[in-house]
Subunit: 120 residues, 2 copies
């Protein structure tokens, strides 16, 4: 019960980057990780990776207060990780694009990473 996915990446090969460039890179990358670092925000993202949902649906699925769901959606929106489409009096949220949702769906299927501890 496993499969193989492919990710196309900029080549990093054996090339060493300067320390300074690695640190610059960390600064650019950290906000994305931060957006996924909160378990409630991550739950929202994973739920959206299945299919688009309204705020109300997210509120029901997570059991969180509506105001808290909106609160978490705001930074995801600002980072461009999710997009909004008004529909009637609802707001339908979707993951931004496949470039993001594909890896997220992959993560959603990862076997429990907590049990990774002590692997080496």
């Amino acid at each position: 019960m496993s499969r193989t996915i492919e990710l196309t990446l900029t080549d990093v090969s054996a090339a060493e980057h300067s320390d300074a460039s690695v640190i610059e890179h960390a600064k650019g990358l950290a906000p994305q990780f931060k957006a996924l670092a909160d378990e409630n925000r991550l739950a929202i993202v994973l739920l959206l990776s299945e299919h688009s949902r309204t705020v109300r649906e997210l509120t029901e699925a997570t059991g969180l207060a509506q105001t808290l769901v909106s609160h978490h959606l705001a930074p995801l929106r600002e980072l461009g990780l999710v997009s909004v489409t008004p529909k009637g009096r609802s707001n339908v949220y979707s993951l931004c694009c496949d470039a993001f949702s594909a890896p997220m769906r992959a993560l959603a299927g990862l076997s429990n990473p907590v049990e990774h501890n002590g692997c080496c």
Copy 2:
């Protein structure tokens, strides 16, 4: 200048997971993201993805205070993301294993993710 890597994953296919299981999964996954969410910790991890280093080397490479580097290494250690090997009076840190360092090296080579904003 790009290449394709393969990741073998537990099958997530089209199967919808229950909301509850997705939320459970988020709880298990969030700590790993949290460990990478701080730009200084991420810098340390990316530096270690190139090769193992002592605390002193990490301190020099990052420009951070030694005590702060040690402070950040502690949670990475507890999560099992890095491992320590005493060598002389130094402590050599390495990324835990290939399962982790391979994706991290890939990330280190990703083109700037900040410019992702507004893609869709």
